[in-house]
């Protein structure tokens, strides 16, 4: 059974997209949601709080989503945190690079509520959460 109280971090430089993802999560019953505006901000929040799930954009200033993902995987305290990418980057090499860096899922924008729900559940099922 999914823990609806799970703390989720949304990382995107566009406030509109953060609001959209937040609304979708609320619709799915997840209300314990934090936001970060780029990879750097996200890493700080990850290190300062007990975040259980990350939903991240790719193309962001300061530190992009892929670089953030690599740093999460290289950090002993954070390396097991699931990371779902939601990005407009639609080149095959992007998807391959994200998978190789250890992304748990990849959603290409524009996406639907059903896609987010499906990928989120798939990741949580796999991890047995």
């Amino acid at each position: 059974m999914t823990d609806k109280n799970m703390s989720i971090l949304i990382v995107d430089d566009f406030p509109t997209m953060r609001r959209i993802v937040r609304s979708l999560l609320k619709e799915l019953g997840f209300t314990n949601v934090e936001e970060a505006e780029d990879g750097k901000d996200a890493l700080e929040k990850l290190r300062g709080n007990a975040i259980q799930f990350v939903i991240s954009d790719w193309n962001m200033p300061n530190l992009d989503g892929l670089e953030m993902l690599k740093q999460v995987r290289a950090d002993d305290a954070l390396k097991d945190t699931p990371v779902l990418m939601i990005t407009a980057e639609a080149k095959k090499e992007n998807i391959i690079a994200a998978a190789k860096a250890g992304a748990n899922g990849y959603i290409v924008k524009p996406f639907t509520a059903a896609t987010l729900e499906e990928k989120l559940n798939k990741i949580l099922d796999k991890l047995g959460k």
């Binding site: 509109t16 619709e27 193309n59 980057e89 639609a90 080149k91 095959k92 090499e93 391959i96």
Partner: protein, 230 residues
């Protein structure tokens, strides 16, 4: 050059053949000197950016139109639902008011009770439907992120075109105040241009769906990941 042409024009009109020849010669000279200075390459580069900008603009136009339509359609579907909800509640409320003013026998009120229960039972399904439409409106706002990224890219392209054109002007204008002002403007550009260099994996939304090596749907993403064994 202008003076030469003007003098010729004012001169013997009968000599128009010579005038045409002179203009032709000047054009050739201009073209040759542009080539020698490498300016035609700069202009070419600037011109190449135009189709890209056109693709991006048409993507923005398409996305904004879609988003507006999606939102308005959702509103059109939600409005009658919430109207009905309100109208039915109002009608039932009026009947209850009448009943309290002139109480009737209980079995006469039974129909009203039944109708009220029916109404209450129907409310959650309708509000769920309205919520679904509200979420649809929320989702339609994703155009702001996608077009925002594309517009940002386009501003870089426009800046690049401006830079190329300024370079052409700078190379063809004699020393002086104008040239200094232009050079100052150029230097500002160099400064920002270095920051916006293209990085291989961050290209933003694909504005053409016929581009190579690009996925067009979530299904294609999933298939690719399956193929790779992820």
């Amino acid at each position: 050059m202008n003076i030469d042409v003007a003098q010729l024009a004012m001169g013997d009109a009968a000599d128009s053949d010579e005038l045409v020849q002179r203009i032709g010669k000047l054009t050739r000279m201009l073209r040759q000197s542009m080539r020698e200075l490498g300016l035609n390459k700069e202009v070419e580069k600037a011109a190449q950016a135009i189709p890209d900008a056109r693709d991006r603009l048409s993507y923005v136009a398409q996305m904004t139109e879609q988003a507006a339509e999606r939102s308005l359609n959702a509103i059109d579907r939600a409005q009658p639902l919430s109207d009905t909800l309100g109208d039915d509640a109002e009608a039932l409320g009026k009947e209850w008011d009448q009943w309290f003013e002139h109480p009737r026998e209980l079995d006469e009120a039974r129909d009203l009770v039944k109708a009220t229960r029916g109404y209450l039972a129907s409310v959650p399904a309708v509000t769920r439907q309205v919520n679904k439409e509200l979420l649809e409106i929320t989702m339609a706002q994703d155009f702001q992120d996608l077009t925002g990224q594309v517009i940002k890219k386009m501003m870089d392209v426009i800046q690049e075109v401006e830079k190329q054109l300024l370079q052409v002007l700078l190379d063809s204008v004699p020393e002086g105040e104008d040239r200094d002002a232009m050079r100052k403007r150029m230097e500002g550009h160099w400064h920002t241009a270095a920051v916006t260099e293209e990085i291989g994996l961050t290209n933003g939304p694909q504005v053409r769906d016929d581009a190579e090596g690009v996925v067009n749907s979530q299904d294609q993403v999933d298939d690719l990941l399956d193929e790779l064994g992820f």
